[in-house]
């Protein structure tokens, strides 16, 4: 491990120096004298922290006047830690956390919106996937934070089956339903699609994409509850119809094993599935024929990664993707030298070598927000060998989902706090469970869910 780390440091130092000398990057003149800043990151695992430290060491070697202290902070503690630091006047210069957190902190005035916006403009706003930028926008053209990486959810499907059947890739509502019907063959233990129908978060994640593709929302930009709309009803009706082509009974993400076993044509999942599809050791963690040797068809299928494609965007009245963006942000600082140092470190993290090293910490989980990185040959060459199984074209297709990501929680640059509470309390999944599994009446179930959402609003 140490050897690998040392090797990485050497490669990075050499590559970065070559980059620094070869590029037209101007020597930053804003800071004078040594400056020490804190970088809060939500990557708390020790191997990831080691990689981040390598990047920091490299940056410090190139910028001897800047010292960076990396502080790991648990994702769930960011808000409280930031609040405490703000009260004590010890906000870090820079942090890395989810876009929803960034919007919440930004709207409370804790982030340096000017610094983050000018960073994005300096890098070129058009170089980012626009969906990723929307997740951190304040609704008036400025940005609370800088999108850094993210995961995408979409429909992973058997491209070979689709081709053989002469079906279009599952993108529109009609195409998805047609394919689900076509491949649903329970007599042969084969199922059309996996959408969530249990009362848990996965169900809401899948449903969000359908609802947003029909323009349905929980709240408008002013925070008014607009859940009970014809668009929402239509999306629920469609979802319930689609759920008929699921494997029997209530289902959740665990049923992805059926896809890995060749028993399902389509399933909703995040890009975290990429290593399961490509690497046998990882897939072995899933249910395989080793457990049930007398059952047919389950061993690792080395062709599966080649035969699988992702349809990251669903289209009905509009395009909708689903994903989670993690962002970098400069905090409000009294000392402009610290802000400048943070911007320089951010700029460094976006240089191709540093950026790709960062993303390779979690292949599948950390996707680039810059399209140009997805096609970079170095990006394809991750240490665990996941991406090389996909190739540049598929990787671009996969990451392109970041162009259209939508959420119930961020509307026109406002973070709707109640949407997070509704998510936590599983109001939508419970409604969908009642409709798809208990045969509840759609209008009645929607009215009940609306009443529960209203309760949430009243109690806030």
């Amino acid at each position: 491990m140490r050897k690998i780390l040392m090797g990485s440091v050497m490669v990075l130092m050499i590559a970065s120096m070559a980059f620094a000398s070869g590029s037209q990057e101007p020597a930053p003149a804003e800071t004078q004298g040594p400056v020490e800043i804190e970088f809060w990151t939500t990557q708390t695992q020790s191997d990831r922290l080691a990689t981040i430290q390598v990047l920091v060491d490299t940056f410090e070697a190139l910028n001897p006047d800047v010292t960076i202290n990396v502080i790991p902070v648990d994702e769930n503690d960011v808000s409280t830690q930031v609040a405490a630091a703000a009260a004590a006047g010890t906000l870090p210069a820079m942090g890395e956390f989810g876009a929803e957190t960034a919007v919440a902190l930004g709207s409370e005035g804790l982030l340096d919106i000017d610094a983050n916006t000018s960073f994005i403009q300096g890098l070129g706003a058009d170089r980012f996937y626009q969906g990723a930028l929307r997740m951190v926008g304040d609704g008036s053209g400025s940005y609370y934070a800088v999108p850094f990486h993210g995961w995408i959810q979409g429909i992973w499907y058997r491209a070979d089956w689709f081709e053989e059947a002469g079906l279009q890739p599952p993108r529109t509502w009609d195409q998805i339903l047609e394919a689900a019907q076509y491949f649903y063959d329970p007599d042969n233990n084969q199922y059309g699609i996996l959408v969530g129908t249990t009362a848990e978060a996965y169900t809401e994640q899948v449903f969000t994409q359908f609802a947003r593709s029909n323009g349905a929302a929980l709240f408008d930009g002013d925070g008014n509850l607009v859940f009970n709309s014809p668009e929402m009803r239509e999306a629920i009706e469609y979802y319930a119809e689609l759920a008929q082509y699921n494997p029997p009974g209530p289902q959740t993400w665990r049923a992805r094993d059926y896809y890995l076993q060749g028993k399902m044509a389509m399933f909703f999942y995040s890009t975290y599935i990429m290593d399961d599809l490509a690497i046998e050791d990882v897939a072995a963690g899933s249910l395989t024929s080793d457990n049930f040797s007398d059952l047919q068809g389950a061993a690792f299928d080395p062709q599966l990664v080649e035969n699988t494609r992702l349809s990251p965007t669903i289209t009905h009245t509009q395009d909708a993707g689903y994903g989670v963006i993690v962002s970098l942000a400069a905090f409000q600082q009294d000392d402009p030298a610290k802000t400048a140092a943070a911007s320089r470190f951010m700029r460094y993290l976006f240089t191709p070598n540093a950026y790709i090293t960062y993303l390779h910490m979690a292949p599948g989980g950390m996707n680039p927000v810059l399209p140009e990185i997805a096609s970079n040959p170095r990006f394809l060459n991750d240490p665990s060998g996941v991406y090389s199984n996909y190739g540049a074209e598929k990787l671009e297709e996969i990451t392109s989902g970041l162009a259209n990501i939508e959420s119930f929680g961020i509307v026109d640059g406002h973070r709707i706090e109640a949407a997070s509470v509704i998510f936590e309390r599983q109001i939508i999944p419970q409604m969908l469970y009642a409709i798809t599994q208990e045969g509840a009446d759609i209008d009645q179930a929607m009215a009940e869910a609306e009443a529960q959402m209203q309760d949430v609003l009243d109690s806030m």
Binding site: D187, Y191, T198, A199, P248, N291, F292, E438, S459
Partner: protein, 297 residues
């Protein structure tokens, strides 16, 4: 004054002093039970009269929570599910316990080994056994459905026994019987071993066959142990949460319905407290009736 006090202490008889020492000795237990059991129960009853807010601003609502709970069909559905679950799981546990105990009371080779192995379901961690059961009943890969559909051809279509809200209660009952029968078996076996052999000999002389011996000797001997066993299992199964919730959250027994009401959806802690109170009253009512009628205390 000091002298008077000293005189009072001196006048305590040895018996009174012993009683006082007794109170000192049980005081820690009383404080702990009071703080950890009595206080939460009283506080829970108190909360059931309020609209509880997490911010601490509780509003007194009188009996509104109670009326809302009792007029909700989902509550009666939960009561009904609980009655079914408790009745069948307790009956099954006791019947299987009796049968296994009778078998284990006979001499056969390696009996010591079989007696230990039978305890496995009871001592195995619930989460591990739950996963095994979920794999077993999996609709696509599970052995159960595979045998019924592919091997025997008894059923035409694959089905999700554990996930379907209509059939999940059956799995929960069977799981409870399987998990808890060793406890019943242990208690019954220890009583069986204490039954006087001469009773059976006398019964044989009276011309009793095996069934009659069981009916007129074994069963009366087991009466009170079975009575206590049923009482204990009813109390435990009535309040059972983890065994049911882990295997499937589709069986809405009272404990799960209370949890879902209190901590998910609208997060109604007042109504959750009311449900807990009603659950407590139902159980206490049963216990009082049962102790008087069946155990004849």
């Amino acid at each position: 004054m000091a002298n008077g006090h000293a005189a009072a202490v001196r006048t305590l008889s040895p018996k009174q002093q012993e009683a006082r020492l007794g109170w000192y000795l049980v005081a820690p237990a009383i404080i702990i039970i009071g703080g950890l059991i009595i206080y939460p129960i009283v506080y829970n009853v108190y909360l059931s009269f309020f609209d509880v807010s997490l911010s601490g601003d509780n509003t007194f609502t009188g009996l509104r929570n109670h009326v809302r709970v009792v007029s909700d069909p989902r509550f009666w559905n939960a009561v009904w599910t609980t009655v079914i679950y408790v009745t069948f799981s307790v009956m099954g546990t006791v019947v299987v316990g009796v049968v296994v105990a009778l078998a284990m009371n006979r001499e056969f080779p390696l009996r010591w080994l079989v007696r230990s192995i039978i305890l496995l379901p009871y001592v195995a961690p619930v989460i591990a056994t739950v996963f095994a059961w979920q794999f077993f009943f999996d609709p696509v890969n599970g052995l159960f459905v595979h045998v019924l559909v592919e091997v025997l051809g008894v059923v035409a279509n694959r089905f999700n026994l554990i996930g379907n809200p209509r059939t999940a209660v059956i799995v929960a009952i069977v799981f409870s019987i399987w998990k808890n029968f060793p406890f019943a078996y242990l208690m019954i076996l220890s009583r069986l071993q204490a039954v006087d052999e001469t009773l059976y000999e006398a019964a044989e002389l009276d011309g009793c066959n095996a069934w009659a011996k069981f009916r007129y000797v074994t069963l009366p001997e087991l009466y009170f142990i079975l009575g206590s066993l049923v009482l204990l299992r009813v109390i435990w199964n009535f309040n059972k949460f983890e065994e049911v919730y882990l295997i499937t959250d589709n069986v809405r027994v009272l404990s799960i319905y209370t949890y879902l009401t209190a901590f998910t959806g609208a997060l109604d802690l007042g109504r959750g407290a009311t449900l807990a109170v009603i659950q407590f009253i139902l159980l206490m009512g049963f216990i009082l009736y049962y102790v008087k009628r069946v155990l004849k205390w």
